[in-house]
Amino acid sequence: MDVIAEGFKAAIALLLKGDAQLYEIVGLSLGVSLCSVAISTFIGVPLGALIGTRDFKFKNALLRVIYTLMSLPPVIAGLLVFLFIMRRGPLGSLELAYTPTAMVIAQVCLVTPIITGLTYNIVREKADKVKNIAVTLGAGKFEVLKLLLSELKIGILAAIVTGMGRSLSEVGAVMIVGGNIKGKTRVMTTYIAQLKSMGDYSTAIAVGIVLMVLAFLINSFLYNYQQRDERL
């Protein structure tokens, strides 16, 4: 218990001191996560909505693939991306290995299936009802899609926040493709792992606290947004 108590005390002190390295690491974590979730949303939401409103030949097979990819182990995503971007790999000339860009790419691979799958499920439930009403009001195919997305805002927002949670807490993929390089690719999760292996538990707890507080803030925002819309 001593170690943990000492750790918390030192953690508060560190946070109040405003350590520059810590801010850099937190900033990069947020940057990489926000970037990858944004890209995943642009791909995943329309894709999920499309699959939810249409029937086509390989729909079942595609859904099985998406559901499997939703629980893709992050280390596998990291390994695959690394094999492509390493110097010896097919995309080696782009010099992407050990950069934040590579981390975003790996996280997009992980988060897009999640957002796609969750959006598909939300859309599938309500799609017919909304489509029928929209068509009777004279909406074209594109307008139906737009209306669908706006009606299902809350559910889709929940999918995006799930994706955000996944990307903020991810360690394996960003460690493999990023390398935890000081000042360049070090994020909160890889830093915590490094601190633990160095035996620096107090700083590890400090960074852990920051990570949890950020997750809480982001989720509180969604919760409040959800509540407000329900009241309407």
């Binding site: 937190v26 110097r87 050990y98």
Partner: protein, 285 residues
């Protein structure tokens, strides 16, 4: 309503701050007149000792090259060199380094600095290793083997692991069994594991000094010439691929072997631990 506005504001501040941090990192680069970046593959023990954090800014200042430090085990670092994934290597596995040069992956290896390994175990030394062999690594290992004392091995082809295996080889023994734990982890993690299991392990002195305060362990064997730990630097053959920064790699090699840097290395640790963590031994030019 106010609560929601507050939360939105909080989130907006976080998003803007993270954008600023990204831009600030760019500005720092311009201030130091950076002309390029090199990728240095080195060992976890070199990084965990804290030496690189102290001396690398001097390199960037003198040459204008930023250094991306990838800290893995010596084995993986050498593999990265073979694959052309790194520009220059700083490792401590002399035989593997010589093989690397012989196979043509690098033009030459050079001695940089040395320190030593120590065998550590629980403070009260229940297996009596210190009493039996305070200065004899082979005797200590033999006793650990005979008495089936819990021993944690790096088991990751690192420099430390290679040294450990070389001692077993000298004794003609092949360790195996429940007492011999092959962890596959870095030095810091292995020391933590050794502490938790109250076993014994081989560690480089620098990482040990960094971590000793948080453990209930102590040195049981030291000072044997078998525990000598030599670090070497090698540039990777630039013909391997177009991304290797040959000029930067050579600049790093020259810098680390230079008299000024050797002096810096020799001073590291004196302030914090009372004695230097590494002894520089680059050949005088």
């Amino acid at each position: 309503m106010f609560k929601k506005k507050l939360l939105t504001l909080g989130l907006a501040i976080i998003v803007i701050m993270s954008l600023f941090v990204g831009c600030a990192a760019e500005k720092k680069k311009e201030a130091a007149k950076i002309i390029g970046t090199i990728r240095l593959a080195t060992t976890t023990s070199t990084q965990d000792s804290g030496l690189l954090d102290v001396i690398l800014p001097d390199f960037t200042y003198k040459t204008g090259y930023n250094v991306d430090v990838i800290a893995v085990g010596s084995g993986e670092a050498i593999k990265m060199g073979e694959n052309g994934e790194a520009d220059v290597l700083l490792v401590h596995s002399p035989q593997a380094e010589k093989d690397f040069v012989a196979a043509g992956h690098s033009p030459a290896r050079y001695d940089v600095m040395y320190n030593d390994f120590v065998i550590i175990g629980p403070k009260n030394d229940p297996a009596g290793i210190k009493a039996a062999a305070p200065n004899n690594a082979q005797a200590a290992f033999k006793k650990i083997y005979d008495d089936k004392v819990t021993f944690i091995s790096r088991a990751d082809k690192s420099g430390t692991n290679t040294k450990e295996l070389s001692i077993w080889t000298k004794l003609g023994l092949v360790p195996s069994g429940d007492w011999y734990i092959e962890s596959g982890k870095g030095m810091g993690d292995v020391i933590t594991m050794t502490n938790e299991k109250l076993g014994y392990t081989l560690s480089d002195r620098a990482t040990w000094l960094n971590m000793s305060a948080n453990t209930d362990l102590a040195i049981v064997t030291e000072g044997d010439k078998d525990l000598f730990n030599q670090y070497g630097v090698m540039v990777v053959d630039p013909k391997k691929n177009a991304q290797i920064n040959a000029a930067g790699a050579l600049a790093f090699q020259e810098w680390i072997l230079s008299a000024d840097t050797q002096k810096l290395i020799g001073q590291y640790g004196i302030e914090k631990y009372g004695k230097a963590l590494f002894t520089p031994n680059a050949a005088a030019k």
